[in-house]
Each structure stands twice: as C-alpha cells, then as structure tokens.
C-alpha cells in the first residue's frame, strides 16, 4: 500500500475499465514477452510473465509494504503487516527445504542469504526512512509507476540514481565489521530453520494483534468487497491474504525457474550503471561492477538480467491491472514539496537497498523466506527507519503521525 496506491475501493461496483490502455497494455505485454523469448530464451520470457502476474497481483490488492507499515505505526492496525508475514511464512515453507535439498527440477538454487553487518544495519534504516518519504518500497514503486503515478516516476528515477551511488560505495561499507552470511536452514537444519522462522513470524504477528487489540479493543473487520466473482477478479480489489499467498507462490516459482528468489533493486542499479556508461561515467572501473555477477550483468544485454525482465513485467502487468480497474494514470500535478520528498526517498531507498543487500522484496521477503538472518535484521532496522520517515513526512506536506 504505497501512498500513491490507487484507491482499491471504487465507489460503484460497476464493471467499467479503460478500454484503450487495457488493449494497449495487453498487446504490449504479449509483444514484449515474444521479444524477450526471441532475444534471449523462453525461460527469460517466463520470468517476465511471472513479473507480469506479480504486477497484476500487487496492483489489484494494493499490496505494498509502505502503507501497511505506516498504518500499523500510526493507526495501530496490523492487518496488512500480518498478510506480509503470512506471505513470508508460506514462502519459507518451500524455500528452506528447497535450498537445503536442491531443485527437484534440476539446476541449482541459491537463497537470498547475505552477510550480517553494519552495511545491512545502515542500509535497511535508510531504506525504511526513504520508503515513507518516497511513498513506496521497491515493489510499490514499480507497481504504482505501472499504474500511472507521475510522482512515483520521480521516486523511481532517484531510486535508480541512489542504487548506482550505492554500488560505488558498497565496497567501502563492507570494510566495516560484519558477520558471514547466516542461514537458519544451514545452522539448524530444515526442521530447525523452519521452526525458528515460523516462530519469529508468529511472534511478530502476535505482537501486532496485541497492539491492535489494545488500541482498538479488537481486530479490524474486513469490509465487504464491492463486487465478487469474475468481476472482482478482473476489476479488483483482490483480498490481501489470498494475494499474499499468490505472491509467495510466484516467489517460489521464481526460485525454481531463475535459481534465485525474487528481487528488484539489483535491476535498478544495473539500469543506472548502463545509463551512467552512456553518459561517460566509467562505472565499469568501480569495484562493485568488477565482481563477477555484476560485471556479467553490465556486460550483457539488460534483457538477459532476470531481475530486470521481471521488473519490466511488474510495470506492464500493473499498467494492465490499472486499466482493468479503470484507474490508470489518475493525475499529473503533484505539489513541489511532495516531489522533493519523492526524490529524497528514492535516493535513500536506492542507496539503502544496495548496502542492505536488497529491499523489502530481496531482503525482507526473500531474505527471511530463505532463512537468512540478514532478513530479520533488515526488518528491524527498516521498521525503525520507517518510523522516523513517518515523523518526517509532515515536513513535506504529507500525513505523518498526526493527520
């Protein structure tokens, strides 16, 4: 639920949609998929298709992290946060055994497991702060851009800039103290890893229940959807819990097909580095871009980068969903202060995601689901940063702790 998330509860339950944008985005989605399959291979096109499904699901459920965290922090309502925790738990139930036993369909799989150190601490805090100013997290930025939010275009541009700057500084940050990557599945075995992960997620969920009941006397009652059946499926809004389960399934599919979990922000850094090269900035001499994986990505076509094609799919998929919902591109004019917040937020998120080995998807969702300790650390620090970000929002004319 990013700030620019478009109202998922239309006033009338009718079934109208933006026919022009829907047709254009549908044709576009297919054409891009064919182009990727021709330019790279079928597997890459399938990953793009997964991205498209992710975009549709994210948009139709307004499934973002920023709004959910802010709602819990400000209103003490934890429904969205619990949906996120459930999503991560379901993904972990598949990830931890798969990472331990290997891919049943052949090929290797690797989890989102990263070192636990100062760079994660600082990066996650900056990311959390930035996502409240930027109005969306990694996935939220993509699906709201797809939905036609002009403000989030600004956030995305500065997200990319921040990610590139992060690649310049990451080696320096990694000189600071750090523990090696720690995987709960590896430390405690499959059963132990699952038990610790589920236990941790359940503990946080219980905490949100406790806080919500204490503040409101009971848990939030989900309002009835304005439409049901096929109309709701096509037009939205989708139920948050089921969408979370769908997202978990799509992340597992990503792990099996790509060999690694769903991630977003590496693509932003890559796009920015390629643009920087065109502008004459020698990013290829930077240490980060000489590490094997980044060097290969920089030297290859962007269409060969799994993360990038999935990001393309998310944007176009969300655009299609927005057109079906009849809410594509709601407005252009955005207050200057809000644009400045978007720029600062984007920069902080891009920089923070690089330092923290991922965003809300790559580090929080995929990290914890992979059993990585860095995912938990990311969660705690990003939530703290988010808290500060909410407090700073009124400076830019946005709502904060006081409405």
């Amino acid at each position: 639920m990013s700030e620019t998330t478009l109202n998922a509860n239309p006033a009338t339950p009718g079934f109208t949609f933006d026919k022009g944008p829907a047709a254009i985005t549908a044709v576009l989605f297919v054409l891009v998929g064919i182009a990727i399959s021709q330019a790279v291979d079928l597997k890459q096109a399938v990953l793009y298709g997964l991205g498209g499904l992710l975009g549709i699901a994210l948009y139709h459920a307004s499934f973002g992290f920023t709004g959910g965290w802010r709602r819990f922090s400000v209103e003490k309502r934890g429904r969205a946060l619990r949906a996120q925790l459930l999503m991560i738990g379901v993904a972990a139930a598949a990830f931890i055994p798969l990472l331990a036993l290997g891919n049943p369909f052949g090929g290797s799989v690797v989890g989102a497991v990263a070192p636990v150190g100062m760079s994660v601490l600082i990066g996650a805090f900056l990311f959390g702060l930035g996502m409240q100013l930027g109005g969306g997290c990694g996935s939220g930025t993509l699906f709201t851009v797809g939905g036609g939010s002009a403000r989030m275009l600004v956030t995305l541009v500065f997200f990319i800039i921040g990610a590139v700057i992060g690649t310049a500084h990451l080696p320096m940050w990694l000189e600071l103290p750090s523990l090696p990557p720690m995987s709960l599945g590896r430390e405690y075995g499959i059963g132990g890893g699952l038990a610790v992960t589920f236990g941790g997620l359940a503990l946080v969920a219980l905490l949100t229940v406790f806080v919500e009941k204490r503040a409101h006397g009971g848990l939030e009652v989900v309002s009835t959807a304005p439409r049901e059946g096929l109309a709701r499926f096509i037009h939205g809004p989708w139920p948050m819990i089921w969408t979370g389960l769908l997202l978990a399934g799509l992340n597992v599919a990503t792990l099996l097909i790509a060999g690694h979990p769903w991630s977003i922000t590496f693509g932003f850094g890559l796009w920015g580095a390629k643009i920087a090269q065109v502008m004459g900035i020698p990013v290829e001499t930077w240490e980060f871009w000489n590490w094997a994986g980044p060097a290969r990505a920089l030297g290859n076509s962007v269409l060969q980068d799994n993360t990038s094609v999935m990001n393309f799919g998310i944007v176009i998929g969300a655009a299609f969903a927005a057109a079906l919902a009849g809410k594509f591109a709601p407005k252009v004019s955005v207050p200057l202060a809000s644009l400045i917040a978007a720029a600062i937020g984007g920069l902080l998120m891009g920089y923070g995601a690089r330092l923290a080995f991922g965003c809300n998807i790559g580090a929080f969702f995929s990290g914890i689901a992979s059993g990585s300790v860095h995912g938990w650390l990311w969660f705690v620090l990003a939530f703290a940063g988010s808290w500060i970000g909410i407090a700073l929002r009124p400076v830019f004319g946005m709502d904060g702790f006081r409405k």
């Binding site: 331990a100 590490w291 094997a292």
Partner: protein, 208 residues
Amino acid sequence: MSEKNTLLFGAVFLAATGAVALDHYSHTANIPAVANPAPAKLPAAGSNPCAANPCAANPCSANPCGVNPCAANPCGAGYNPCGANPCGAGYNPCAASPCSANPCAAYNPCAAGNPCSPSSPCGGFNPCGVRSVNPCAAAPCSANPCAAANPCAAGNPCAAYNPCGASPYAVSPCAASPCAPAASNPCAASNPCAAYNPCGAGNPCAAY
C-alpha cells in the same frame, strides 16, 4: 486518464523501449558503443573456465562440475568454483574484498560452514558421492550420504576411521550403503572416483 499523463507515460515508455533495444543491440552485435572492458577478475573472454578444470576428467557422475553449480548463480560463468578454484591459494576472488562483500554471498564458498572450508565439518564431504547438487549449497550435508555417520564430525564414532587411507575395514561408512563392499568406497583405490578423491593429498581438487 489525462492527456498530460498519456503524453508523459507514452514518452517514458518510448524512451525506455529505445534504451533497452539499443542496449540489447549493442551487447549482442558486439558494437563497442559502450566501453565495458572485461573485468580483471574474470577469465579471459572466450576462455572456458572449465577447460583446465581439475574436475573435467572426473568419471564421477555426480561431479559438481558436471552440472555447473554456477549455472543459476548470479555470479554465473565468471565465478565457476571449479575453473579457478576460489578456495585455492592462487585465485581467490574474495581476496581483493572481504568475503562478506561478495554479492554471491549465498553461494560464497568462503562463507562459514561451507563444505569447501578446511575447518568445516563438511570438509571431508565427498563430491563424488550421490549428491548431484552443489556442495556449496545451503546445508550440503543434509543430503550427504555420509551425514549420518559423517567421518569428519567431531566425536563421531567414525571419526577415527580414515576414509581416505587404505581402509583397514571391509566396509566404508561413507558408502551409499554402509554394508557395501569396499570396492564401492569412493576412496578406494579401485574406485573410478579415486582420482578425484577430495581427501587425497595430491588431488587437484583437494582444496575445493
């Protein structure tokens, strides 16, 4: 949908499409429009990192190099642990930066607990065993046929048993079936995997 927004997003879409097409064309047509010299830490362009692979001649079907464990690795071809062994003394991609800096962290062969580490309890993990998956994967010992009686584990009743030596025993605790004859011992001299015995001192894969 406003006209201004249509124009804005149309322009952004066209610019993005053009940029992606240009990038793809420049990288597939070998047009040096963008200077991107080969990274210093990667093998020379065109060289097969497995060409000098000490595992190449490995007759073991479960050769970790057989199915390149790097195939789906974000570090891919340039990070083949069999080609230029990152654990070897001569080529450590982690040397220039701490291992924690490795973006391949999840697959970092330098990470703690990894089966390649000499100090790892999995250090003696036989890559010629039944496992067909990356020995550096998470919890590689979980599927290790020797896991139940890991001869490398401290305090293990098998600890004193040297699976690499001339076995004084008729059976090997490391065999897929502990009761199998010694001939199936992956460390036995007659074993086709003997040349790849990771426990052997002279084995080129010993450091892997």
